[in-house]
């Protein structure tokens, strides 16, 4: 929808007023935000925090995500080959999702022979062994519930086992009790919405669950459970455990997913994933599944390389280090493959890499509008609000078009964007901010190749742009300068930090506690490594505290 917002009708669009409107709900806790985007320049910064502040994240009862469910079942049953069908990420599980969970539980017990030794500490096909069943309930229950079962819970599962044993026999009863555990509320839901209204500190077991769900997308392992049981996490041991989890290869998918989602490589309501993005075969004969895999792999390699090397967000935005295969090297205009330096003056970090550029493009041409919106909304955290209803998402392609008088003209993409969004229409209010943030990327075509003249029109490229509504406002020459400018911005750093805090606490970014954000971002500077930033997030008050809202 945001490819072209051409507006021809006279509508009460107050885009200037809408730019940067915070999307925080009216009931967001805390005092007015220090960085209120609506505040005119020069307004003194008012802190969201005072001595009385007790930052916390909203307490919720939430189902495991499909990824968390898959990892958790694999860990619980020590069955790494198990692949469930559950894919329901709706805020309220659907009937289809609950049916999938039933089918997955049935499929999981079908694989009993493949489970790790000791998951069932006796012969399930042998004679009735009530002690064994009790052990299964206690052991799997503790792992699944991320704490020891209460006596009520244990009695409930024991009752399930006994009635199944009497009706179906021992083997089926063991299967039934495991199936019940895999679909039980204590396993499937993270329930932090307990207790009286107000702020409370999470206990050790809740912290262990948050930590494992965040960094491993799974249940805590034995070492983390033991740490929780000995009260370590609430007495200074949280960072050490977090460090241990973060250093494990199991944290890598979490980090990769964070960046893939940030760059929207997996698709959004507005565009397809990198793998599903269509490109015009005549214009881009080299674009095939193998090249797409290389693009994806390159970004993953870059993230792994910089993060494991202690790099910062600034490094991610500016480094020219890359790991490419022959096809991608060709796209970058290089000979050879492997570890390379991308051409100086043409490339910088993440935002100048092919994967990002190909996703933020139409099948034919680059999309300065979508790229500009990304910079403003996703890098600077300045929401633009909904486009007006007569906004158009037909990609602006340039080339031969008809002008206002009906005459044929040839326009570059940039010229076409300016013609369609400028003039006296209401478009210009938003697009005077969006377009100049996207034009610096004009050198890169729809698959991210660097061009001096535009593909299709052969018109010269103009990358001059401008940043507004940021703490680094000013003219921008091209994407390399844009990357360097963004890398030096506190607003960008804060935005990145908020995104991590949102992921860590399963809280939408607009619901984050402002004071928590303020105290956390005060600890982060330009040199803070991504790893330390994640650890700081985990040590922040919003990670360890929840606020229970009044009952509606």
């Amino acid at each position: 929808m945001r490819t072209s917002w051409c507006i021809a009708l006279l509508l009460p669009v107050a885009c200037m007023g809408r730019i940067g409107d915070p999307v925080a709900p009216e009931d967001a806790p805390g005092t007015p935000r220090a960085d209120d985007p609506k505040a005119p320049p020069g307004t003194p910064v008012v802190s969201a925090c005072d001595a009385e502040s007790s930052p916390a994240s909203p307490a919720t009862t939430r189902a495991l995500t499909p990824t968390q469910y898959e990892n958790a079942v694999r860990d619980l049953l020590q069955d790494p080959g198990f692949t469930p069908t559950f894919d329901d990420a709706a805020p309220v599980l659907t009937e289809r999702g609950v049916r999938q969970l039933r089918n997955d539980a049935e499929a999981a017990v079908e694989r009993r022979g493949l489970w790790g030794a000791g998951v069932i500490p006796c012969d399930a096909t042998g004679p009735v062994d009530d002690a064994c069943a009790s052990e299964v309930i206690a052991r799997l229950g503790r792992l699944a519930y991320r704490r020891s079962l209460t006596s009520e819970e244990a009695a409930w599962l024991d009752g399930v086992y006994r009635s199944a044993r009497d009706e179906l026999g021992f083997e089926d009863a063991v299967d039934v009790v495991v199936q019940v555990l895999l679909q039980s509320p204590g396993f499937l839901y993270v329930n932090e919405a307990t207790g009286a209204p107000g702020v409370r500190a999470l206990d050790d077991h809740e912290l262990a669950t948050r930590l494992a769900m965040f960094l491993w997308n799974s249940i805590p392992d034995e070492a983390l459970l033991v740490a929780a049981e000995s009260g370590e996490l609430t007495s200074g041991g949280l960072r050490d455990q977090a460090k241990r989890l973060l250093e494990s290869p199991r944290a890598e998918p979490t980090i990769q997913r964070f960046f893939a989602e940030w760059l929207a490589l997996n698709g959004t309501p507005l565009h397809d994933s990198l793998e599903a993005a269509m490109k015009d075969a005549e214009r881009f004969p080299e674009y095939d599944a193998a090249l797409v895999r290389s693009m994806r792999a390159e970004v993953e390699h870059l993230v792994r390389d910089v993060v494991s090397d202690g790099g910062s967000l600034s490094d991610l935005l500016t480094t020219r280090r890359a790991h490419v295969d022959a096809a991608l090297a060709d796209l970058y205009g290089l000979e050879g493959e492997g570890d390379v330096e991308l051409p100086e003056g043409e490339r910088a970090g993440l935002l100048t890499r092919a994967a990002f550029l190909a996703v933020y493009a139409s099948p034919d041409v680059q999309s300065p509008i979508r790229r500009g919106v990304f910079v403003i909304e996703e890098v600077l955290c300045r929401p633009l609000g909904e486009p007006p209803p007569n906004a158009n998402d037909v990609p602006v392609t340039g080339g031969t078009v008809y002008d206002e008088m009906g005459g044929e003209v040839v326009r570059s993409v940039r010229q076409d964007v300016e013609a369609r969004t400028g003039g006296g229409g209401t478009c210009v209010a938003c697009h005077s901010v969006i377009n100049p943030a996207g034009f610096p990327f004009e050198h890169y075509d729809a698959i991210g190749r660097f061009r001096e003249r535009e593909l299709g029109t052969d018109l010269p490229i103009d990358t001059a742009g401008q940043l507004t509504y940021s703490d680094v406002n000013g003219p921008i020459a091209d994407a390399v300068e844009l990357s360097a400018t963004l890398a030096g911005s506190k607003q960008v750093r804060d935005c990145f930090t908020k995104r991590w805090l949102s992921t860590a606490t399963a809280t939408p970014i607009e619901h984050l506690d402002r004071c928590a954000v303020e105290r956390l971002t005060a600890r982060i500077d330009a040199n803070t490594s991504v790893t330390d930033l994640i650890l700081d997030v985990i040590e922040s008050e919003a990670f360890s505290h929840v606020v229970q809202q009044e009952a509606p």
């Binding site: 009708l9 329901d88 609950v98 009790v177 397809d272």
Partner: protein
């Protein structure tokens, strides 16, 4: 610990399934006339996302002299009340006498809640079957605060004519801005997009031969698991904060739905379990398979209500293909306002019309397959076909997606809901055109609220109104029934 509450509830469910027990209650709640209705009724919805090939504008129809094209391929070819099908519905010609096309219906819930008074993508979607107030002001992700019409009808029909599934929901997957289907407030429905998974959830264990011992064992195990879970969720609910309790309530209800599937089914004599389809994601293959599954489930008596939801997909396999080279159906729809004589894409007019027309005809082709199968004379119910005993609602969130306007929605009704609805009609609620069919003017006070109130009446309700208070008037659509 076998919960007494559960055992008691199960006994009640089994007992209450008998029609003799259920009917007096229904007379009280749903009116006497309906309780005497003997035919099994069905309600189906066919939702195509992204609107249709229409020249609907914000307040009037485009005349084809501006940036926008001037074509309306949805509109019946004659303004007469006797229905003459327009170009998109040409394939439905053999069933014309069993159809109604209803023009001039607006979605006033979307229009009233949109800051621009039009509807917009997300609001139009979440209100198009719910007529509900939404969780604005969350412009990016509004969710409905009421159930969709299919769910309301399904619950009522299921109380009168119990079936294994209260409601089936199958999809052709792709991009669209939110779902119009809601089971309850904030609770979107999601259906199967893979025909194999759909088959497995509908027909697993359904057999017209005797009971299979392996199946009986599976059922017993499932019952044990569900008994355990229902007890567990009841206990858990008490420990969840009020703001999130609806999630656990919904989970509990879904488990109960799975439990109901374990009840014995009286399959209809004509039930034919279809072959297990391939696992596929190709829309071209998925669409017809989903239609076949819905038809088979209805013929077997497994459900009274079914939904087929078609995302705003592109259709490269049609004759016209995808010459516009748009990345998704949404952009193809938007291009409508660039292909008129003064539009930037004027030169692409014919190509755009060909692609859009073939795309929408493919979707309508699925409707044709559905209608044809339901009307199959080999599956008569007395002197009526299943189609005669059904109402199929075909609609979309827009008429013309390029303007984001939820006015003059495409509404096609098939079947007469057991002879209650006269068919073969073209009903015009646009008062300007009703007076002067050649006009491009538009004015209407009829809303989907009114249409769905009428639909509730067809299924036995005597409801005063469906949905929120955004409609200009309450009550059913005058002149429909």
């Amino acid at each position: 610990m076998k919960s007494l509450e559960n055992s008691g509830r199960r006994a009640f469910l089994r007992g209450a399934c008998g029609a003799a027990l259920a009917l007096p209650l229904l007379e009280l709640t749903h009116g006497k006339a309906f309780a005497q209705q003997s035919a099994t009724l069905r309600f189906l919805t066919f939702f195509e996302h992204g609107g249709t090939l229409s020249n609907m504008g914000t307040r009037s129809f485009y005349d084809g002299t501006s940036k926008h094209h001037g074509l309306d391929h949805w509109r019946p070819s004659s303004p007469s009340e006797a229905l003459e099908l327009g170009p998109l519905m040409a394939s439905l010609e053999p069933f014309k006498a069993k159809l109604n096309v209803v023009q001039g219906i607006d979605n006033r819930a979307a229009m009233a809640q949109d800051q621009y008074g039009r509807g917009g993508h997300r609001l139009s979607n979440v209100t198009s079957l719910t007529c509900a107030t939404t969780t604005s002001p969350e412009p990016d992700r509004p969710t409905s605060l009421g159930p969709s019409i299919d769910q309301v009808v399904a619950d009522r029909l299921n109380a009168m004519q119990p079936a294994r599934f209260t409601n089936l929901h199958l999809r052709v997957n792709g991009h669209n801005y939110g779902t119009p289907y809601f089971r309850a407030a904030r609770e979107a429905v999601s259906g199967e997009a893979n025909p194999r998974a759909a088959f497995d959830s509908i027909f697993a264990g359904v057999t017209t031969s005797g009971p299979d011992p392996e199946q009986v064992r599976l059922q017993s195990r499932r019952q044990s698991v569900l008994d355990g879970l229902l007890g567990g969720y009841t206990a858990f609910k008490a420990k969840v904060g009020a703001s999130d309790r609806h999630r656990i309530d919904a989970h509990f209800e879904h488990l109960r739905a799975l439990e109901r599937e374990l009840e014995a089914v009286d399959l209809t004599p004509s039930c034919v379990v279809p072959d297990r389809p391939e696992s596929t994601t190709s829309a071209e293959v998925v669409g017809p398979l989903q239609v076949q599954l819905i038809v088979a489930a209805i013929r077997c008596g497994l459900t009274n209500v079914a939904n087929l939801q078609i995302a705003d997909i592109l259709t490269p396999w049609t004759t016209a293909g995808t010459p516009m080279n748009q990345p998704r159906g949404h952009s193809l729809g938007h291009q409508a306002r660039e292909v008129g004589p003064t539009g930037a894409d004027a030169a692409k007019h014919d190509g755009w019309v060909a692609e859009m027309s073939d795309n929408r005809k493919w979707r309508m082709g699925l409707m044709k397959q559905l209608v044809e199968a339901l009307d199959d004379p080999d599956f008569m119910e007395g002197d009526r076909t299943i189609l005669d005993n059904s109402l199929v609602l075909y609609t979309s969130e827009f008429s013309n997606a390029s303007q984001h306007v939820a006015r003059n929605l495409p509404i096609l009704l098939a079947g007469s809901a057991g002879g209650q609805l006269s068919t073969g009609r073209n009903l015009e609620y646009n008062t300007v055109r009703a007076a002067d069919p050649s006009s491009n003017g538009y004015d209407s006070t009829a809303s989907t609220h009114n249409l769905y109130t009428s639909i509730l009446h067809l299924f036995g309700g005597d409801d005063d109104h469906f949905g929120n208070d955004d409609a200009p008037s309450r009550g059913p659509l005058a002149g429909l029934i």
